[in-house]
């Protein structure tokens, strides 16, 4: 009898059930989408923060002091120590290889430019643009195009295997060179594929594939420094502690968290004769920005949950209030309060389940759409969320119905049947 009551109610009042179901489904969809966005926003914004450039710098350990003013290296190019280009690849063999978004080696040298009748000594920087590399059968592409996304090229980027170069914007203006022209560097003609604008010292320099700079310096395989761009976890009190003073358990927790310090520590251990330091301007600032944005999204998600809970309760309360007559009839026929309530609660739970399932998948689609249109990448809903969302949906539907059911039950059946209440 109980089952039949519930079943018939769904069969005969399809319009009403559909409306309530839509309300539950919409509420659940919004809640699911917001939870998915809030749990993913940290990763997404972290990825965007990488456009501030590298957060780790690798230099040779035995190096003399940098003599650099305004981004221009004043140290004699042969002075000081170098890293080996082959060693740099090991970055991709460390524990944190999946957190390394990209790296770019740099080798500044002095070069003589001959353009028309003028001859000029300028700084030439050798680097990777978008170099195809492989480590342990895993191939990847890295270079300044990944680590320094604010570098803009008018024309085309040179290929890393070619001997083509980029001219800095102010230098190109001074020499009157356009993309496609050629220029003589240390007596050899090189093609200028593009004009580079960075807003920094590179605007007055030549940027070339790494091997060109190594040839000019006369030391193949040499690299002066490497910029590494890594996805990190914002600093907290643990991150800033010295690993030497930690207990073993704490050290394990420290080295298994992708703090910029622990990534630097691991890189330093895997690269011989290298010093790895976090670039504090980027590394320490991105933590606070990330925390703020994550905190904001969390609070907004709470607001979304509240709004959808209210919407679901309102819809349920309305649906039940409209059925006072039925409650009156049941009671008049001798049904106990508890029986009536359980019929209605069973209906609410059933509705929540159905609305919840539809809403969960709808919310997943919504989250994906948000991810695609805003971040150009996937936002996926964790399957673990499914039972949680369903539980919350049931609870909210239950609570939303409870008030209305209790109120409806307090009416005298006579009034309810007269529809006068």
């Amino acid at each position: 009898m109980f089952g039949r009551l519930v079943f018939e109610s769904f069969r005969r009042q399809r319009r009403r059930k559909l409306l309530a179901g839509i309300a539950v489904g919409l509420g659940v969809a919004v809640a699911t989408a917001m939870i998915a966005v809030a749990t993913n926003i940290g990763d997404k914004i972290n990825q965007e923060l990488r456009s501030y450039g590298a957060n780790l710098l690798i230099t040779p350990q035995a190096d003399t002091l940098d003599v650099e003013i305004g981004g221009v290296d004043l140290k004699p190019p042969s002075d000081g120590a170098f890293l080996k280009e082959a060693d740099v690849l090991r970055i991709k063999g460390t524990f944190w290889k999946n957190n390394i978004v990209g790296f770019a080696p740099m080798l500044p040298v002095r070069a003589n430019l001959q353009a028309d009748a003028q001859s000029e000594s300028v700084e030439l920087v050798g680097t990777y643009f978008a170099k195809q590399l492989a480590y342990d059968n895993e191939s990847f592409i890295t270079g300044v195009r990944t680590t320094n996304p604010w570098w803009k090229v008018n024309g085309a980027w040179p290929s890393d295997d070619s001997s083509d170069v980029l001219l800095g914007q102010t230098l190109a203006e001074k020499l009157g060179r356009k993309p496609g022209d050629s220029i003589e560097i240390n007596g050899q003609a090189r093609r200028v594929t593009g004009i580079l604008t960075t807003g920094g010292a590179e605007d007055g320099q030549v940027v070339a594939p790494l091997h060109v700079a190594q040839e000019i310096l006369g030391s193949p395989g040499a690299v002066r420094r490497v910029y590494v761009s890594a996805l990190t976890k914002p600093e907290d009190a643990l991150a800033l502690r010295d690993p030497k003073t930690m207990s073993p358990a704490m050290l394990e927790r420290w080295s298994c968290s992708p703090y910029v310090q622990s990534i630097a520590y691991v890189l330093q251990q895997s690269l011989p004769h290298a010093r790895v330091e976090p670039i504090r301007q980027v590394a320490s600032t991105e933590g606070t920005v990330l925390e703020r944005i994550k905190g904001l999204m969390l609070l907004i998600t709470l607001a979304a949950l509240l709004a959808s809970a209210l919407a679901v309760s309102a819809a349920m309360a309305t649906a039940i209030f409209e059925r006072r007559n039925e409650i009156g009839l049941m009671k008049a026929l001798g049904a106990a309060n508890i029986t009536v309530a359980s019929v209605f609660f069973a209906e609410a739970v059933l509705l929540a389940m159905m609305g919840g399932i539809v809403g969960f998948f709808g919310g997943g689609l919504l989250a994906r759409e948000i991810g695609r249109s805003i971040f150009n990448s996937q936002i996926s809903v964790e399957p673990v969320l499914f039972p949680v969302i369903l539980g919350i949906a049931t609870l909210v539907t239950f609570a939303g119905s409870a008030v209305a059911i209790l109120r409806a039950m307090r009416f005298d059946p006579v009034y309810a049947l007269k529809a006068d209440a």
């Binding site: 309300a23 919409l26 509420g27 989408a33 917001m34 966005v37 997404k44 914004i45 965007e48 923060l49 456009s51 501030y52 450039g53 003399t64 002091l65 940098d66 003599v67 650099e68 003013i69 305004g70 981004g71 004043l74 140290k75 320094n148 996304p149 604010w150 803009k152 604008t197 807003g199 330091e277 976090p278 670039i279 504090r280 301007q281 600032t285 606070t288 920005v289 703020r292 944005i293 905190g295 904001l296 907004i300 998600t301 607001a303 979304a304 509240l306 709004a307 209210l310 919407a311 309102a314 819809a315 309360a317 309305t318 409209e322 919504l366 948000i370 249109s373 805003i374 007269k418 529809a419």
Partner: protein, 376 residues
């Protein structure tokens, strides 16, 4: 006889008002729940819109921790004119911090080159908040040493000597500086000590300008006009990344706000529709007593609109409180109330309320009053 006495006219209006008021007073519970739905929706909408408008300004102050976004450099390695800094500061007019830097390559005792920089210690600690400094110099003859420079010239923190073009200087190490970049290899002196020793004037002014991209561009132009001999350029690394992160955050916030406001509006729609449907007997009685359809529609429309308006006003106040709390909790700064949000919340609430009344009215209009009164 044919003239309508004024009393009757006012009586008609009075009746209309009384019907409006009595309807909500007699059915207090139902009217309150409808009002509550509007209040909650308006509050949520106000909070979200207020946050959306204000959050950029809040995040921008966080982004300024990345340091300078405009750099003034002298052309061709010459120093800037002596009055460059005051002129830049006049152009800035308090909309940011400007810090001068002067550089020379000096030599240490063993003759190796080292970069020595002169700057204003008071402002540089505000501009470059990421500098990890053990102790700032606060007396004459004290220097701030980059961590690598310290290892080279003063490993135990002892006083050391530097010379520039034959001019020696004896310095005490006040503290060390860690940045992970070129600063680690430098020695920083207060600008006064630096110029007294080397005679070199600042060659760079770094500016952290506050405000939106358009405001920063305007500041850039004003600074360019103020220091004609110098090259003024934006730090693209900082400005582009900031624009990107801010843009993505705003879009996400907008998407979230749209979803939440939609949900809240649906909640209002459901409650108000039910409220009007619930009063189909009033509707039927009015119709049976000979009220015109226009009058009845007008009656329900005014009723819905007044609930919408009242709810919007109450919700606006509550929403401002919620936005202020979020600002306090997340940004440790107050979110200023935006009056510009009020009209859209007010009109939006009334629109949704009218729509919620219109839907059931269209349904009821087709039904004979007798059918409703019979209770079917």
């Amino acid at each position: 006889m044919s003239t309508t006495p004024p009393t009757r006219r006012s009586g008609k209006h009075g009746m209309f008002l009384r019907m409006l008021l009595r309807a909500s007073l007699v059915r207090r519970g139902r009217a309150l729940s409808a009002l509550l739905a509007v209040v909650v929706a308006a509050a949520v909408a106000t909070a979200m819109l207020n946050l959306y408008v204000d959050v950029q300004a809040k995040l921008r102050t966080e982004f300024r921790k990345y340091g300078a976004n405009i750099v003034v450099v002298a052309k061709h390695g010459q120093p800037l004119p002596a009055d460059a800094l005051p002129r830049v500061q006049t152009a800035l007019a308090g909309r940011g911090i400007a810090v001068p830097f002067a550089y020379v390559v000096a030599s240490t005792n063993d003759g190796s080159p080292i970069v020595v920089a002169g700057t204003d210690m008071q402002t540089v600690r505000r501009l470059d908040s990421w500098w990890a400094v053990s102790a700032w110099p606060n007396a004459a003859g004290e220097a701030l040493l980059g961590s690598r420079a310290a290892a080279a010239v003063s490993p135990q923190g002892q006083p050391f000597d530097l010379s520039f073009q034959g001019q020696p200087i004896h310095l005490k190490a006040a503290g060390t500086l860690i940045t992970g970049a070129a600063e680690d290899s430098r020695v920083y002196l207060p600008l006064q000590d630096f110029t007294a020793w080397t005679g070199v004037q600042p060659s760079t002014i770094e500016i952290a300008a506050n405000g939106s991209a358009a405001q920063v561009t305007a500041i850039l132009q004003q600074v360019t006009a103020a220091v004609p001999g110098a090259e003024v350029r934006p730090v693209r690394q900082i400005m582009e990344a900031e624009g990107r992160v801010l843009g993505k955050t705003r879009s996400t916030l907008l998407a979230a706000a749209a979803l939440i406001i939609l949900t809240a509006a649906l909640c209002v729609l459901a409650t108000l529709t039910a409220w009007v449907l619930d009063r189909r007997r009033d509707f039927a009685i009015m119709k049976a007593l000979g009220a015109s359809e226009r009058l009845i529609s007008g009656f329900f429309a005014v009723e819905a609109a007044s609930i919408g308006a009242l709810g919007a006003l109450l919700g606006y106040g509550i929403g401002l409180g919620a936005a202020a709390w979020i600002g306090r909790a997340n940004f440790q700064a107050s979110i200023s109330p935006r009056l510009s949000v009020l009209p859209s919340v007010f009109l939006g609430s009334i629109m949704v309320a009218l729509l919620s009344a219109a839907l059931p009215m269209a349904l009821l209009r087709r039904v004979q009053p007798a059918t409703i009164l019979r209770g079917e």
